[in-house]
Amino acid sequence: MKCNDRTWGVEQLLALLIYISGTALLYYLIFSNPLLLRAIFNGRGYAGALYVLIVILLASTLYGNAVSILMKHTLEKAIDKRVIRRG
């Protein structure tokens, strides 16, 4: 997807759908498995730390990209830097 392409197309909509679904699935897996979470929390060590970092990376990437696509095609499009920037 091109960075500055701010028009909605099938590609953008599909990417948004994938990111939102991925985010929902990840959050569901984490919050519906308290026993697994407790085991990781109490387990410590490199395996637990690695798990934490991987989940964090996945969450920020999936959800971050979903929000970024939405903003790019809505608010960012509406704010025209050349017209309103005064600083």
Binding site: I56, L75, A78
Partner: protein, 356 residues
């Protein structure tokens, strides 16, 4: 990691998260994210105290924040990079010193918790907040007042600092093209070390990193904010790894913070495009001063818990109320101002479009 610390972190335990707590954590995330994207400071200055006010122990609040910061920094730095606000060369040079700073901070935090206990750990983190934020706000206020007075004979504290550090510019000197400055390697490493230490201690690296880049290295506020977010990817990774290794990261907290913070950080970065640098600084000072007040009100409570002070429960309740009011008030007003500026900009845009 000693067995004693392991027991302490087990005693701190797995936090009970109710639906209300989850919503509050997402709102805290949004507030921190919006202010972070707008000021490039990380957002921990408001999120860590807010989590502590919810009853989350200080070390876990710092751990949750630094873990959350790791992922959020990737998104924020990407956004700033698209706008040409990231000097990657500067970021990589600061990187080595930053790692050492985070390592020292995490070791110290664990040491305080292990030797003196949870109340002392909370007190240490709160005192670090008060000292760092007071110094930063004093420097920023002096800078703004000097610009207002426009007396050429009198130099502000930041100008004096910049001049002093320029005299100390020991070779080798390095050119940073995006930032548009030539600076001593030693100064850059010093800023990196201080940023890493504070990122690891209170989760607030940007509060020293951004002003230090502006006043010591002479970089403009937009590049300083963008580069600090780029740097936060590394300090966040290291801090998250070290705290997670010792079992201080409750994964659900950073995930709930993300729900609000990623929307906030994107909005905040957009906000920087429509306001003047002085407006960003004014919001920053207002919030910092209120956060200092908020943390100051919590000190008597920690001293009582440690047995150094005796106070009636009603006074402790008042102190806690004053702390929560100033903390959440600063976040609400700060976010309100930024969102109002964004809405006003959108109105101007639609007004201009209507006229054409």
């Amino acid at each position: 990691m000693s067995g004693e610390v392991r027991n302490l972190s087990e005693a701190i335990g797995f936090i009970n998260i109710t639906p209300e707590t989850a919503v509050i954590l997402a709102v805290i995330g949004f507030t921190g994210g919006l202010l972070s994207g707008f000021m490039g400071t990380g957002g921990a200055f408001i999120m860590t105290p807010a989590m502590m006010s919810l009853g989350i122990p200080g070390i876990m609040a710092v751990a949750a924040n630094i873990t959350h910061k790791f992922g959020k920094a990737i998104i924020g730095a990407k956004k700033h990079s698209e706008m040409g606000n990231v000097d990657k060369k500067l970021g990589f040079v600061m990187f080595a010193a930053l790692f050492a700073g985070v390592k020292v901070a995490v070791t110290l935090n664990q040491g305080v918790l292990q030797k003196i206990g949870v109340a002392a750990s909370n007190l240490y983190i709160s005192l670090m907040f008060i000292i760092v934020l007071s110094v930063v706000s004093a420097i920023m206020i002096s800078d703004i007042m000097q610009r207002g007075n426009r007396n050429p004979c009198k130099k502000s504290i930041p100008e004096k600092l910049t001049k002093k550090f320029k005299v100390l510019s020991l070779p080798p000197l390095i050119d940073f093209k995006v930032a548009g400055v030539r600076s001593s390697l030693w100064l850059v490493l010093l800023v990196g070390l201080a940023t890493g230490y504070l990122a690891g201690t209170i989760g607030v690296g940007g509060f020293i990193g951004v002003p230090a880049m502006i006043y010591i290295l002479g970089i403009n506020i937009r590049v300083a904010a963008g580069t600090e977010l780029f740097l936060a990817i590394f300090s966040g990774f290291q801090g998250a790894l070290l705290y997670a290794l010792n079992g201080y990261v409750d994964l659900r907290i950073p995930l709930l913070l993300y729900l609000g913070s990623i929307v906030g950080v994107t909005l905040g970065a957009l906000g920087t495009r429509i306001v003047k640098a002085s407006q960003i600084q004014a919001v920053m000072i207002f919030i910092i001063v209120l956060v200092v007040l908020s943390r100051s009100f919590t000190v008597p409570g920690y001293l009582v818990q440690m047995g150094y002070l005796t106070l009636s429960p009603i006074y402790l309740h008042y102190f806690q109320f004053a702390s929560d009011l100033s903390l959440f008030g600063s976040g609400a007003v700060g976010c309100g101002i930024i969102l109002w500026w964004i809405l006003r900009a959108l109105k101007v845009k639609s007004g201009l479009a209507a006229r054409h």
